[in-house]
Symmetry: C2
Subunit: 307 residues, 2 copies
């Protein structure tokens, strides 16, 4: 499938991402929103009472209304998982989804809510940055020809493993007791490359100053040089690291008052930026990021979407 | 009428004020919202398309839904104009409405949208701070026994004049060609105190380094020491000056990421803080200010209104 280009790609289909999209779409900015409303924290809300003008609706109802609204104004929505993201030399951004489709855009809005996800394995925190990593694009290069594990059971783990092949073939994916849920084409590529997989459970990550081995629940101790955590779907921290965006000590993406990160062309909004976890706050930040994208693309110092 | 006390008073009944109120009310904070949705900029919007989850409604519809929503959760709303505001020695805030009712609260949220209003009189800008002022509580003291004009035709002008009487009796209210629209009780007090009024139009404020006179359209030149501008209803700048809150060079109230001003207990949200003039941004900032008030009053480091 040929690469598709947009003016802006919004990663995340919760309130922040959808709110950003409604502004960019209404300004005729070619907008693609990738994500799934069901993965928004809001999807779990039975009755929402604190979002002004939409009292007593469920979270899913508000999200579905929002999705229809952005589509009505011309934004494309894609219920898909982003597994890879990078900046090209021409300063555009390449976004790859789990079905291996590729999308390119001049600007990017990260609105994925969740900042990061821990596997909850003993030693995971202790060795973070000392053999335990969360981003192949950032740290894969340190493991040329080394023995590496990827921990995860989904498309993100598969894609991270495929990226690692550029550095080492000595590679195993550990699902840590979970069933593998990897898209067919990714699965084929992994098997063609000879990437090993195991469903065995991990008991502990061990080492001294740096990671040395992984102790499995079955008693086996497997020596290893590096471990890349890639649980579930990609989180904001993963995207931030992929683009070298500054995050704070809690992993939240640092933005200015207009939703800009410190990487030109990249904006962020909602839960992944920290602060109060409320719909109105996320929608408000999405609005700021959306308008800032409009201003960047159109070269405007001011922009108002007065309805 | 006896003074009524609340935990928080929100000045302004647009999206920012109502969004703040829905949070404080739901947290059982005794909340009073004073203002009028019809004075919100949003009231002029025929069809709103960019507020997520409430597509194709009119601005007034969204405001009315919001007003009902905050009332449902226990906030009191008062369709009234605030004409005076001050901080007491016990660090509570006193709010006076144009019918002379008095309300007191421990915290305050300023959400009045409009920052300031110019009369458009020649010389008005030039002499600002040099004989032309916008807040009697701030600068009235410089005019002890001096000759002073108050420019305005409404309750704000009346209340500012009554405050000026503490410093000087040599006082005239100039409506600048407009009909006077002053509440009966204020009118009575002005006439009892002998405050003069005129509807004559002003041509120019004249002076050298400081204001010296006002030239009227009828050719008369009236010598004067100081002029207090008090057009229309009280604006955010007026409230900010009344409490010595820091504003930026455009008169916008400076807040931090949680909606706090630099005066303890006072928060601000929406248009009066500058930035993008959008409903989502105002509602998001109202949310932040509301939650910050809850945290201050309940002494919480964290608070989440998860619905």
């Amino acid at each position: 499938m040929a690469e598709q280009t947009y003016d802006t790609i919004i990663i995340g289909m919760g309130m922040a991402g959808l709110s950003a999209a409604v502004f960019t779409a209404r300004a005729n900015i070619r907008t693609l929103v990738i994500g799934n409303p069901k993965e928004s924290q809001l999807a779990y809300a039975q009755v929402v009472g604190n979002y002004l003008g939409a009292d007593a609706k469920s979270g899913m109802e508000i999200l579905e209304m929002g999705k229809e609204q952005v589509e009505k104004y011309g934004a494309k929505t894609l219920l898909m998982e982003v597994v890879h993201l990078r900046k090209s030399d021409d300063n555009t951004f390449l976004v790859k989804t789990s079905n291996m489709d590729e999308f390119r855009a001049k600007t990017l809005i990260i609105a994925t809510g969740v900042v990061f996800r821990q596997a909850g394995i003993k030693g995971e925190k202790e060795f973070l940055g000392k053999g335990v990593h969360t981003c192949v694009a950032c740290d894969g290069i340190f493991y040329k020809g080394k023995k590496v594990f990827v921990v995860g059971n989904g498309n993100l783990a598969a894609e991270e493993s495929l990226q690692l092949l550029a550095f080492t073939k000595n590679l195993t994916i550990l699902s840590n007791g979970k069933e593998f849920e990897i898209a067919e084409n990714l699965k084929e590529r992994l098997s063609k490359e000879g990437v090993k997989t195991t469903k065995d459970k991990i008991a502990e990550i061990k080492g001294n100053k740096f990671v040395k081995s992984v102790l499995m629940k079955n008693g086996q101790e497997l020596p290893v040089d590096g471990i890349f955590m890639a649980m579930g779907t990609a989180t904001a921290l993963f995207f931030a690291q992929s683009l070298a965006i500054t995050t704070d000590k809690n992993g939240f993406i640092v933005i200015d008052g207009e939703g800009k990160t410190d990487v030109k062309g990249v904006y962020a909004a909602g839960g992944c930026t920290g602060g109060y976890e409320q719909i109105a706050k996320s929608a408000g930040e999405g609005c700021k990021a959306g308008i800032s994208v409009i201003r960047e693309l159109k070269g405007l110092t001011r922009y108002a979407d007065q309805t």
